[in-house]
């Protein structure tokens, strides 16, 4: 094995166990030294790469996320066996559903759907992930706010009302997989409020989002969507109304 091939193979895989490679290093102390050096470097690199902390509860989240799909597939399974029975169930279900919908329209406000809950949790996860980045308390420049707004096709009107929003963080983010959003943080009387604005009208009705720590509301707005997340719901509706009146959409 010539010098060039040997060096290439050491750097390509310092743990190469091919007999040709091992033979080529046996009788050369300098080649052995090179292997040891590259292996030492590799160990440092591997150690660092494998030290990445794994988020707490990730395995459980991966398992629980498919529960909706499992229910769906269970519904579809054994279709042939259950076909006859299902017909009667279907008739009964239609009746129950009709009565239920009538009653719920009158008495019960409908809660968020599974998709809406997942969307809300995704946004909250993004907020938590970014928390370390928005510790600053100085207001950002208003032109910066509109720079970020422009990425989602909007513009915040420059007036006394919007100037009073103490926006301390403005950044274009990937707020959900495949969804770019404008992420603002403002510090008001009710504490820190996160404003996420997306260009896509993913949200077609208002619903609440929450977890153990955060509360918030998602609403359609103009040609896009807005999600407000705070420590509580206090003041969020006012902020939402104020934003709706002061954001111009380019589309």
């Amino acid at each position: 094995m010539d010098k060039e091939e040997f060096v290439t193979r050491v750097f390509a895989n310092p743990y190469d166990e091919d007999p040709d490679f091992l033979d080529a290093s046996k009788s050369h102390s300098e080649r052995q030294t090179l292997i040891n050096e590259v292996r030492a470097f590799d160990r440092r690199m591997r150690k660092t790469m494998h030290e990445v902390p794994i988020p707490d509860g990730l395995a459980n989240r991966l398992k629980s996320r498919i529960h909706g799909e499992v229910s769906e597939s269970a519904k579809n399974s054994n279709w042939f066996v259950n076909r006859f029975v299902n017909r009667w169930y279907a008739m009964a279900a239609v009746l129950v559903l009709t009565v239920g919908l009538t009653l719920s329209a009158v008495f019960i406000p409908s809660g968020p759907t599974e998709t809406e809950v997942a969307m809300g949790q995704g946004i909250i996860r993004h907020v938590i992930a970014e928390t370390a980045d928005f510790t600053g308390t100085d207001s950002v420049n208003f032109s910066r706010v509109n720079q970020v707004m422009a990425t989602v096709g909007g513009r915040m009107q420059d007036n006394a009302l919007t100037r009073e929003l103490n926006i301390t963080f403005a950044k274009q983010c990937l707020v959900l997989p495949g969804e770019i959003g404008a992420h603002f943080v403002m510090r008001g009387d009710e504490g820190v409020v996160n404003i996420i604005i997306m260009q896509d009208s993913l949200i077609d009705r208002e619903f609440e989002v929450e977890d153990d720590r955060f509360s918030g509301m998602a609403s359609p707005m103009g040609s896009g969507s807005v999600i407000l997340i705070g420590d509580s719901m206090a003041g969020l509706e006012n902020y939402r109304n104020m934003l709706a009146a002061n954001i111009d959409w380019s589309i």
Partner: protein, 184 residues
């Protein structure tokens, strides 16, 4: 884990859960080094496993599960994030501090490695991550990246050479490549 292409609802769920338990840490580490951002990495892993669940029946052997998941993740990363990366992703100092062990040497190693990995062109970074994080052989990497084995070995050689030079810039003149003795 069981193997077999035909699964009813229950065994599919068991197989999926076993896949998660066995591989989620490796998949997350790979995602993290691909996009170098904790939040994006978790989103990527979520998407990867969701896609894996939906097409689990196509996984013929559980021995191939890791390569299969890594390939799904690499494609998801390309589809979702690569075009946005320049604006969205920067190296996270916080991530460096989050890792265990905070001796100055260790912190410097991490910071340097982050920077060095970031500076690697993707054609070198991709096979290196598959080898170091995924533990795949040159042949497996060649299959995953649709390259021939020689190309993979050359790229791995260049990747390590470049990283080593970033770690030891003062040693460039004494680079082991240059010190290698003549044959004989």
């Amino acid at each position: 884990m069981s193997s077999g292409p035909v699964l009813d609802g229950k065994s599919k769920l068991q197989r999926y859960n076993a896949l998660v338990d066995t591989l989620y840490q490796d998949v997350y580490r790979y995602a993290f080094w691909l996009c170098r951002n904790k939040a994006l990495a978790e989103d990527l892993v979520q998407e990867t496993f969701l896609r894996a669940w939906r097409s689990l029946d196509s996984l013929q052997s559980d021995k191939a599960a890791k390569a299969w998941l890594f390939t799904i993740l690499r494609r998801e990363n390309a589809r979702l994030y690569e075009r946005y990366r320049p604006e969205l992703v920067d190296i996270e100092d916080q991530s460096i501090a989050d890792m265990p062990g905070n001796e100055p040497d260790e912190l410097m190693d991490r910071a340097l490695l982050y920077s060095a990995i970031n500076n690697l062109e993707s054609e070198y970074r991709d096979p290196l991550l598959l080898q170091v994080v995924g533990g795949f052989s040159g042949k497996e990497i060649a299959e995953m990246l649709d390259l021939n084995n020689n190309t993979v070995m050359t790229r791995l050689f260049r990747a390590r050479s470049k990283l080593k030079q970033e770690f030891y810039p003062e040693a460039n003149d004494n680079n082991p490549i240059n010190k290698e003795p003549d044959n004989g």
